[in-house]
Amino acid sequence: MNALTVLAADEFKAPGLELFDIPPLWDGAPYWLTKPVVLAVLSSLVMVVLCWSAFSNPKLVPRGIQNVAEMGYMFVRDQIARPFLGKETDRWMGLLLSIFLLVWMWNLIGVVPFLQFPVASHIAFPIVLAASVYLLKIYLGIKHQGVIGYFKNMMFPPGLPKFIYFLLAPIEFLSNLIIAPFTHAVRLFANMFAGHMILAFFSMVGFWFLFEKLTPLGAPVGVVGVLMTIAMTGFELFIQFLQAFLFALLAAMYIGGSLHPEH
């Protein structure tokens, strides 16, 4: 931020990609010890601790944090896992719950004051999760349908006129094996990236016009910037939850699809 004010001393400049290019925490720190790395580990640990305090010794009659965590568990089970996994829901709940909570936590850190950086806006983090799900999807598909069966079910769904397959087979192959994992990761990344950019833009507007260059004409713009920052933070909270939900939902869908090709 100081960089911006130094560079463009008189003119407002909207924040850009430099928001996401973060140096190591201090001069001379290891090159990998950056804010996103620290936040990724920190938020994961917070999540682990929260879950541990909720579920380490679960009671038949839930109290306090167990109640809250159970709501999360039920949500993942009933809204994410059940529709795609049916009877096998319980077997995959561990993975899906981990994915959902981890992504949500990584996103949420984007609006925690002073930390304020969504981990998933660095594409490496969504890629790790999407790649894990992708490998699991292919492994399960081959395990449950056989190598030939898996590709046959994927590329040649039964009950269509023959000439359609010339078109459909490559499309299905592309969409299942290349596009799906890519969009799985990029959807989360892009949403968090854009959300962070929007928040940074509006807060920058507020800061610039109310503190850096307070003028009678600029002040209302600054006020709008502050109000929009607040509103967009609320919206961002919703998007963060929605993206975590979607990410886990797609994971459940891929797993379910590999277990039961007919779906």
């Binding site: 960089a3 850009g16 682990v48 568990y73 709940m93 561990g94 790790v128």
Partner: protein
């Protein structure tokens, strides 16, 4: 310093290119979360949820059993009550019949008694009448004889004859029933 480095880096780095170290850290974080939350904690909460479902279902089952039991007991009581009512009405009917019978018997007895008393009274009256008649006959004979002796002025010497006259006289009187009754 850092500012310049940052700006330079912007030129070279695309946000779509992952940093290798972030892949490692992300993988590590995911692994930790998956092992703790997915492998240790999820089975625990699943067990608890299953137990809770069981407890609730057990409670419902118990309540259902109790309700069924209460229902059967109520049914039993109702049956018993109905039986008791029937029994009572039967007893009442019986008592009424018995009462009627006793009343009829008493009445019959009383009538018999009354008849017997009347019979006895009749017999008594008849006997009294006979006695009175006999007495009257002898009295009338004596009075008539006396009267006849007084009228004739002499006593009839012949006893046998005298008797015959009296008898004839009495027969004549008896021939006129209104005279006696």
């Amino acid at each position: 310093m850092t500012t310049a480095a940052t700006l330079l880096a912007v030129e070279g780095e695309s946000p779509i290119m992952p940093h290798a170290y972030e892949l490692v850290v992300g993988g590590f974080a995911f692994l930790v979360v998956f092992l703790v939350v997915g492998k240790i904690l999820t089975p625990r909460i699943q067990k608890t949820l299953a137990e809770r479902t069981e407890a609730i279902e057990g409670g419902i089952k118990k309540a259902e059993d109790l309700q069924a039991e209460a229902k059967s007991t109520l049914e039993e009581y109702r049956t018993q009550l109905a039986e008791a009512r029937q029994e009572a009405s039967r007893l009442r009917e019986e008592a009424r019949e018995q009462g009627a019978q006793i009343k009829a018997e008493l009445r019959e007895e009383a009538q018999a008694e009354a008849r017997r008393l009347i019979e006895a009274a009749h017999a008594q009256i008849e006997a009294d009448r006979q006695q009175a008649l006999a007495q009257l006959q002898s009295e009338i004979g004596r009075l008539s004889t006396e009267l006849a002796g007084r009228i004739v002025g002499e006593s009839l010497e012949d006893e046998a004859r005298q008797r015959r006259i009296i008898d004839r006289f009495l027969d004549e009187i008896e021939a006129r029933p209104e005279a006696v009754r």
